[in-house]
């Protein structure tokens, strides 16, 4: 199978979804001529025209609210919010409106809106362009959250998101865009939500990682293996819905769990996951669940400091070893 970049996989998913369904359109800041801040939507304006690739003024809350109103009235908007940090500006429209409309209205509304955004650091963009805010979003019933770690999932999860009848946030990682290539089918396909990907089977420890942390982990598999540790690696793909059964089944097999995420330690997604594992697999655990996360600090600018805050290879290796003690 051909191998393409994560960014190209997303572009292809958008293009195919727009070709298939004329209700699908893109809306966001500089997604047209500019092609998006990271170039993800390049070429789509030429292909689909300005009525379906809509450049907006810089007004994130209204962009999300307009997406919600558009979705409620039958369209299928794919909103781009350049950095997930900016999603925090839109929380009313996202969490109070889009997420809750269906419930508040007694099941009568549908809000099939997708928000594509970018998370994560490692780019030297500092504290307001590098956060991983997925645990903030995790807290609101009504939202779904996909967090692809490779090109195949990036395309398949985005297509699932566009076909979903609910508001879905797809968090892409900036470092994956042009760094990670992988096999991606040319045709349209969906990656099912709530179905974890067991990337590698193993006996000794279950390692759950999300987004760029999956790639970081895959880059050091050999080093860890050299320590005599046989990991089972799981990527949840969507953290809401979460395929807890696959993760728990794996932990019951290995007896140990290490959870890796880039977001801050306190209140992170993996703290919820750790609690679920201890509730459901306590008797099978041979060691405390280890969490390897970002530090409880804003993402700093200097590369030395940024590397300190984001989980490093060294921290990951040490954390996994600790679970095996």
């Amino acid at each position: 199978m051909r191998e393409i970049f994560y960014l190209d996989a997303i572009n292809e998913a958008l293009s195919q979804a727009m070709t298939e369904d004329e209700r699908v359109f893109l809306i966001g800041e500089d997604i047209g001529v500019y092609g998006g801040a990271f170039g993800v939507t390049l070429g789509l304006l030429e292909k689909f025209g300005p009525d379906r690739v809509i450049d907006t003024p810089i007004s994130e809350p209204a962009i999300v609210g307009i997406g919600a109103g558009s979705a409620t009235t039958g369209q299928r908007p794919v909103v781009e919010i350049m950095f997930s940090d900016f999603l925090l500006m839109t929380l009313d429209q996202l969490a109070n409106q889009a997420a809750k409309m269906r419930y508040m209205f007694g099941g009568k509304a549908k809000v099939p809106m997708v928000i594509r955004t970018t998370g994560g650091g490692g780019t030297g963009a500092a504290a307001q362009h590098s956060q991983s805010i997925e645990s903030v979003l995790l807290h609101f019933p009504g939202l779904k959250i996909a967090i692809p770690s490779n090109p195949y999932d990036a395309k398949g999860l985005l297509i699932s998101a566009i076909k979903d009848e609910n508001p879905v946030i797809v968090i892409e990682h900036k470092l994956l865009y042009k760094k990670v290539k992988g096999p991606v089918p040319e045709e349209m396909y969906s990656v099912e939500f709530g179905k974890a990907n067991v990337i590698k089977e193993g006996r000794d420890v279950t390692v759950v990682a999300t987004s760029y942390m999956v790639q970081k982990l895959l880059g050091i598999v050999d080093k860890i293996q050299a320590e005599g540790i046989d990991m089972e690696i799981i990527d949840p793909r969507t953290i809401k819905p979460l395929d807890i059964d696959t993760i728990v089944a794996s932990v019951k097999k290995t007896g140990r769990a290490v959870l890796i995420e880039e977001a801050c330690y306190t209140g992170g997604f993996t703290s919820f996951l750790a609690s679920e594992i201890s509730l459901r697999a306590f008797d099978w655990l041979d060691a405390p669940v280890q969490r390897i996360t970002g530090l409880d600090a804003p993402i700093p600018y200097s590369v030395v400091l940024e590397n300190e805050v984001i989980p490093s290879e060294e921290r990951i290796i040490n954390g996994i070893k600790k679970a095996l003690l």
């Binding site: 307009i66 558009s70 409620t72 009235t73 419930y103 007694g106 009568k108 609910n166």
Partner: protein, 320 residues
């Protein structure tokens, strides 16, 4: 301005009376402690919702506010299901999940009330984008209050609607107070519609207690807005007779001020017009009032006797 036919005028009167009596009943429920939650009453402002919604067609869309019962009733909502919703009953518009601030009737073009001040402005604008994209020929009425016009979202949404010429009328109901904060202290302009200039769109300020005036203005605006002439900001000046919500000691205004505004009652004004110009008799007006009283009694009966939702309902309708 076209002269309204008698039937239409009497229908508008009936709808205004439905709102008035519905709200009085809800107020009574509050006093008696029969409503678990809170709400915001529309009494005194009936001419805005009724005048403007009678000026559009049934297929057209609206978004409402936290003070939304009036818009719902004007758009043709079922009084019984509304009353049931307020009492948290299974038979309510939202199966008891939304309450006063979240009544929506999507099938009738009501995209929902909103608990967040100004929260519906972008949703309405998104609906107007759908209208434009699908060439459906509809118009969107976006209701919000004088408090909401100071939310950043209004600026963002009105700006986008203006650059895309969306078919939407932003109807700012100036009822003089954002909770207890007087509009005169909240803005440094005389008319809220002056803000239209910032977006290069048409702005108008009208008497929100004159139902015929509101109707004719919105009718006129809607016909050009439908032709994609661009959005409009329409300020309707009125007054909220009751407190902001269930709990309000009203320390920010005088009884005298409230009494002065009550003299400008939009319903009495329409009734007087109808009798003075011999369009309807006192008897006809009394009959309408009696009919409405009956409708409200029926709604109360339905709501009170409806069952509460099953507990399992708490976990349904979260996802489609």
């Amino acid at each position: 301005m076209p002269q309204l036919k008698k039937d239409m005028l009497l229908d508008m009167l009936e709808r205004m009376l439905q709102i008035r009596h519905f709200e009085q009943q809800v107020d009574k429920f509050y006093m008696e402690g029969k409503v678990h939650g809170t709400g915001h009453l529309y009494i005194g402002m009936e001419a805005i919702a009724v005048g403007s919604i009678f000026a559009i067609s049934q297929d057209d869309l609206i978004t409402s506010t936290h003070r939304g019962h009036g818009h719902c009733i004007a758009k043709g909502a079922d009084l019984s299901r509304m009353m049931a919703e307020l009492l948290g009953k299974k038979t309510g518009y939202c199966k008891g999940k939304g309450g006063s601030m979240h009544i929506a009737d999507i099938e009738k073009g009501n995209l929902g009330a909103n608990g967040i001040v100004g929260g519906g402005i972008a949703i309405a604008t998104g609906a107007a984008l759908t209208v434009k994209q699908t060439c459906s020929g509809q118009v969107v009425l976006c209701f919000f209050g004088d408090g909401a016009i100071n939310q950043g979202l209004f600026h963002e949404a009105a700006n986008m609607a203006s650059i895309w010429s969306l078919p939407i009328i932003y109807i700012c109901e100036n009822n003089q107070y954002g909770m207890g904060f007087p509009v005169k202290k909240a803005v440094n302009i005389q008319k809220l519609s002056d803000r239209a200039a910032a977006y290069g769109i048409k702005g108008l300020t009208i008497d929100g207690n004159d139902v015929i005036g509101v109707h004719d203005t919105v009718k006129d605006l809607a016909s050009s807005v439908r032709k994609m002439s661009g959005p409009v900001l329409l300020e309707c000046v009125s007054y909220r007779w009751k407190g902001h919500s269930r709990m309000d000691a009203e320390r920010y205004r005088t009884k005298q001020e409230v009494e002065e505004w009550k003299k400008k009652c939009p319903i009495k004004r329409l009734q007087k017009y109808l009798t003075d110009s011999a369009i309807a008799t006192e008897k006809e007006l009394q009959d309408i009032e009696k009919k409405v009283e009956g409708q409200i009694a029926q709604a109360v009966d339905f709501a009170v006797n409806s069952p509460f939702p099953d507990k399992n309902e708490a976990m349904t309708d979260i996802y489609a």
